[in-house]
Point group: C2
Chain length 441, copies 2
């Protein structure tokens, strides 16, 4: 994409309404614009990141055997009266009356709707287990929406639901999702820490939340450093095998948010205990028959007797992750995207558009890098281009200037703390970019 044609309205000034760094940087980097309080439009660059995150989530859900469907945003109120949650949700639920005076609502979550689909469609225990998911916009009418996409009103979430015949099966489904969450976050370049969690309004008796570490995180967390040493990114998982050992390994180390923190662990773990701050990016629940019972979601079991299905639900905040990743990965100059979710992998800066040699070198790089590159071809000062490229945080920068080109070189820069710059030939730069390309796992 050529910068001159790209719809990328970056801001030079810090927007006053943004209290946290991800909100500030997303506005400045032209990723989002506010439509109304807590509701955003995703501009092309923000949208690309959102889609990359969504796609990783999708691939890992599919790999774990979950099947994608899509439930609508608008649900009938009756469903929520069946489960008893219609009143529980209070003002956070956006209630709507349609032209025929029927009570509707903008779904804040989908346990009721998926349970209704299940009970209509599944007629035998032989069709179990099932894990169904969708990636859909949801709405929670927060009283004070803030922190940009981290706590918006309209937000994109992946929510999966599992259906099993008994508690042992439900636990297997829970483990599948647990493991797929570890893979999902690792593929985004994130270190997500699973922590035992309260079940909250969803209910149930087994729950974990997944926190990523960021200085600006909303929760205080306490972690055995041994957990951080685990490398998940390259790990293959056989979902048809017993996943208990893996889950036990990952939950065997101490990790807790402050509500669940046991102060005695400070003595037990000593220096191994890391006290940090975290952002919740996923939450999984096993809640048994909490919804299947009031909504009568049962299948005939092997002996013909109806069995209420055992359910779990599994959420990932897809739009929230965009902000969370920025909170976890930025510096004073701007965003530092992990490669797998970067809007473009490479930023190409032409220091002298109009100079035949610079233009030619850039044209060669632009062709070779194809969809991976944002090419700043504008007639702007070098300082403006450098600052903007750092702000938007693409993992690599290639700088083409008349001086370097005269000597046959370009500059390759890695964005971020591990960064650095190197002069090299154009071919060497392309070779280095090709050899460092992350594989699709």
């Amino acid at each position: 994409m050529r910068r001159s044609a790209y719809f990328l309205p970056t801001l030079k000034e810090n927007p006053s309404e943004a209290q946290i760094v991800s909100h500030r940087l997303m506005l400045r980097a032209g990723m989002i614009r506010q439509s109304s309080a807590g509701i955003y439009s995703w501009l092309p660059m923000g949208f690309r990141v959102l889609k990359k995150i969504e796609q990783i989530v999708r691939e890992e859900q599919n790999r774990a055997g979950a099947q994608e469907l899509l439930m609508p945003t608008i649900q009938p109120a009756e469903l929520w009266k069946e489960s008893g949650r219609y009143e529980d949700y209070g003002k956070e639920m956006l209630r709507i009356v349609d032209r025929h005076d029927r009570g509707m609502l903008y779904g804040p979550t989908n346990e009721e709707q998926i349970t209704a689909i299940f009970r209509e469609c599944v007629k035998s225990y032989r069709e179990l287990p099932q894990i169904l998911y969708h990636i859909q916009w949801k709405f929670r009418d927060e009283v004070r929406p803030r922190f940009g996409v981290m706590r918006g009103r309209e937000f994109l979430m992946k929510d999966a639901y599992s259906f099993d015949l008994d508690a042992a099966g439900a636990r297997r489904s829970y483990q599948r999702m647990f493991v797929s969450y570890m893979r999902t976050f690792a593929r985004m370049g994130l270190k997500a820490i699973p922590m035992r969690a309260d079940t909250g309004p969803i209910g149930g008796d087994l729950s974990h939340e997944f926190q990523i570490l960021a200085e600006t995180g909303e929760s205080a967390v306490f972690i055995d450093r041994a957990l951080l040493a685990t490398d998940w990114a390259g790990r293959e998982v056989d979902y048809s095998s017993d996943l208990s050992p893996l889950v036990d390994e990952l939950t065997g180390h101490y990790a807790a948010t402050d509500e669940k923190h046991d102060p005695a662990m400070e003595k037990t773990l000593g220096d191994r205990l890391l006290s940090a701050r975290g952002i919740e990016v996923g939450h999984i629940f096993y809640f048994g028959t909490k919804y299947s019972k009031p909504m009568n979601a049962a299948v005939p079991g092997p002996d013909g007797t109806p069995v209420l299905v055992e359910m779990g639900s599994y959420g990932i905040g897809v739009s929230r992750l965009v902000g969370a990743i920025i909170e976890a990965s930025h510096d004073d100059a701007g965003i530092i995207w992990p490669e797998p979710v970067a809007p473009f992998r490479v930023g190409l800066i032409n220091l002298k558009p109009g100079d035949a040699k610079c233009d030619e070198a850039c044209a060669t790089l632009y062709r070779a890098l194809a969809d991976d590159v944002l090419y700043d071809d504008r007639d702007e000062r070098a300082g403006v281009k450098f600052a903007e490229m750092d702000l938007i945080g693409l993992p690599w920068q290639v700088v083409v200037g008349p001086k370097g080109i005269a000597g046959g070189t370009v500059e390759l820069k890695r964005r971020g703390a591990a960064g650095g710059r190197e002069e090299m030939t154009l071919d060497a730069a392309l070779a280095k970019l090709a050899s460092t390309r992350p594989g699709r796992s």
Copy 2:
């Protein structure tokens, strides 16, 4: 995907609520379930088709130089008061009051919202032209929702908006979208006919709608048969060239809906005039400054004077297309998917699961066909499997039975009128499937 594990709740009986064939077949083929009147959940197979259509639309929008973003579903009422359309829309617009008593609405379309984004973000004529689009759920509170996804309340639409400095530029943007629509529908295996159209509530002075032919279509249409002879699927387009000759060629033949039909053409064209029925799948408008004027979307022109931008809007009914394609392509046995939008390309039927040779041949085919295949591995009667495979309408079927396998053959069947069945070796079947695979254009 194995049929035994796939969430595919097909129905044997015709659902009584469905009045038209696409609605009936989508319910029977387990593609959708109704959530409330005019609102559907897309089950895994329906979702796959929806996504394939969406992806073709996206690729062709991008190819034409449009940039994807994503606006939220919930919009503030004030925006619509600025344009003056807040009252015009009447009860079809789903109006919402949030917890702070602010007037909101579920967007039925996005002219206001994109105009607001444009005026905030674009500061110079040098940033024009721009074509921005999104693919998002919309809501129209139809008084009598019916015909399944063809006239639902919550529906998925691609809507693009163009911004130009003058009328000549706006016409070029219009032509780009016109041509991209021809390519888009052709890639789906559809013959879409562009017809001059009324501009309706969107306003403006130049408009075309795109109709596909189906016996059950809602509109009577009259077409010069010469138009049908044009083959679009393989045609390359250079979007940087002048598209006028191409658009003139495509609009040079007579084509009109009954509201615009000129009876004199019956004499002029004689046998060349085809009278048929059509379904609207796209609609494009040029409306000048209809929104930019009341909303004051202007940029400083070359001489510094503010210029109101010239706009157009361009819609494709993505969820509607799923129904429209079925209306255009089915027989008594079920759906006949055009290959580019088929949920799976191949249905594999094992006539005798448990038979070692059948299982082995099926396993080989299943591996080779990967994501393209739905494998019916269930222990069901052959008749049930054949009927279901015809119902769901995958373009190819491979039937593996003990008799054929003993002689080293499987049966390859093409679904649809041009169909036919052939006995051949397993390798020959795979070779034929590979050689008939449509390329990604």
